[in-house]
């Protein structure tokens, strides 16, 4: 099983919020096999370049994040909405709840969105987020990460996850990353450095492929 359980005690808030009863298995219906479809009217080019959303350029290491979205059979999921959010280079979120004593960057909001193309691929330009302190336990730091939200083909394929960076020493200490029980699944959350996708003299690049689960409608078949 790839997903974490709801209850993972080292992440303390799960104690208050994790459902405890066993999940009820649904008979398959049209409700799970359908889902919202979003078109090009919901995305413009500046949505996917987080370094071009303000008058000036944000501080930090410019990076390109690309990847392919597919189903469990490897088929591309085309024209699906990918949304991201992240901290700035100093590890501070553009959010009123974030009280981390690190500078805000007037040129960085940290939100982006894109649609996958006909090969299931997406592409963002952004800056590498900084590590972020949280109060889960003494001296707790989140490894650098980018939040991802995807819809996929149906209600059942909805996924919200986080992308991490290779070689980050904080991964070993992060209960959210380690809530995923098996090592091979955890590795799927770590982007790989992609030299071929870098832009010389301009930006580094990381590749983060995403596989969505999900049912496909087979209406009225036996």
């Amino acid at each position: 099983m790839a997903d974490p359980d709801y209850l993972y005690v080292p992440y303390r808030l799960t104690i208050l919020r994790a459902p405890r009863q066993p999940l009820v298995v649904l008979p398959e219906t049209l409700s799970e096999c359908t889902g919202p479809v979003f078109g090009h009217d919901s995305v413009t080019e500046s949505c996917s370049d987080l370094t071009r959303q303000h008058a000036g350029e944000p501080m930090g290491q410019r990076i390109i994040v690309t990847g392919r979205v597919s189903d469990e059979d490897g088929r591309p999921i085309t024209n699906t909405l990918v949304e991201i959010w992240q901290a700035n280079a100093a590890g501070r979120y553009f959010h009123e709840v974030d009280r981390h004593d690190a500078p805000l960057d007037p040129n960085f909001t940290g939100g982006g969105r894109a649609l996958t193309d006909s090969n299931g691929c997406y592409r963002f330009t952004t800056i590498k987020p900084g590590a972020y302190p949280w109060q889960n336990h003494k001296n707790a730091w989140r490894p650098a990460h980018i939040h991802f939200s995807l819809f996929g083909a149906s209600f059942s394929s909805r996924l919200i996850t986080q992308m991490y960076f290779p070689g980050d020493p904080l991964l070993d200490f992060d209960p959210i990353f380690h809530s995923v029980p098996d090592e091979s699944s955890r590795q799927l959350l770590i982007a790989r450095f992609d030299l071929a996708a870098t832009k010389p003299e301009w930006a580094l690049a990381y590749r983060f492929d995403i596989v969505l689960r999900g049912r496909h409608a087979t209406p009225f078949e036996a």
Binding site: A2, D3, P4, Y6, Y8, Y11, L13, T14, I15, L16, R17, A18, P19, R20, Q21, V24, V25, L26, E28, T29, L30, S31, E32, C33, T34, P36, V37, D41, S42, E72, I84, W85, A87, Y93, F94, V97, D98, T109, G112, R113, H147, S149, S154, F155, R158, L159, I160, Q162, I176, F177, S179, V180, S185, L188, L189, I210, V211, L212, R213, P219
Partner: protein, 188 residues
């Protein structure tokens, strides 16, 4: 291929998700059907409101047709009805949705389901989405619904929205993530 695991939405999703206003409206002006206001609250194991959660709704239109090409009745869907909405909870742990009462969607065996709204909840401290359904208290179709009938009987009432006594178009649904009144969640 191995599916990518879920991770918690965290506390800062407002930067991107509810901010995307293009996809926030479940029913456009002129959507057919009985308009209703649905107040959904998210509560934790001790009954405290979760003021930093996100609720997403996916529902069929007033005729029971999903705005999706895989619905066999898609050609008849109401173009003014989008079917999807999402909101961040407020300080009371609540989201207030304006929608219409869904009709009866098909299941995949040719039978009809009872009117319902499909719900996803995401929150800090939730490692993956909690998926449930909202049914409407008192709807005669509930008795034949295949999903309701496979839900444990003593907990089935956790799937019901309740009509306000003085405002017939106002419905309330409390979603308990845990605790003695834990809502039924589905393996999707």
């Amino acid at each position: 291929m191995q599916p990518t695991p879920s991770q918690t939405i965290g506390p800062f999703f407002h930067i991107a998700l509810p901010a995307n206003e293009n996809i926030a409206h479940i029913a456009g002006p002129g959507a057919e059907g009985d308009a209703l206001t649905l107040i959904c609250r998210v509560l934790d194991a001790v009954g405290a409101p979760a003021d930093d959660a996100m609720i997403e709704l996916w529902q069929a239109d007033a005729s029971g047709v999903y705005n999706h090409p895989d619905d066999p009745r898609y050609a008849d869907h109401d173009p003014a009805f989008h079917g999807f909405a999402r909101m961040a909870t407020n300080a009371q742990g609540a989201c207030v949705f304006q929608t219409v009462k869904p009709g009866r969607p098909a299941d995949l065996n040719g039978a009809m389901q009872a009117p319902h709204i499909n719900v996803s909840v995401f929150a800090r401290g939730l490692m993956k989405r909690a998926a449930t359904r909202i049914y409407f208290e008192g709807d005669p179709a509930n008795a034949q619904d295949r999903v309701l009938s496979c839900a444990p009987e003593q907990r089935r009432s956790t799937l019901l929205a309740h009509r306000d006594a003085s405002q017939p178009s106002l419905w309330r649904f409390d979603l308990h993530l845990a605790g003695p009144d834990e809502t039924i969640f589905f393996a999707i």
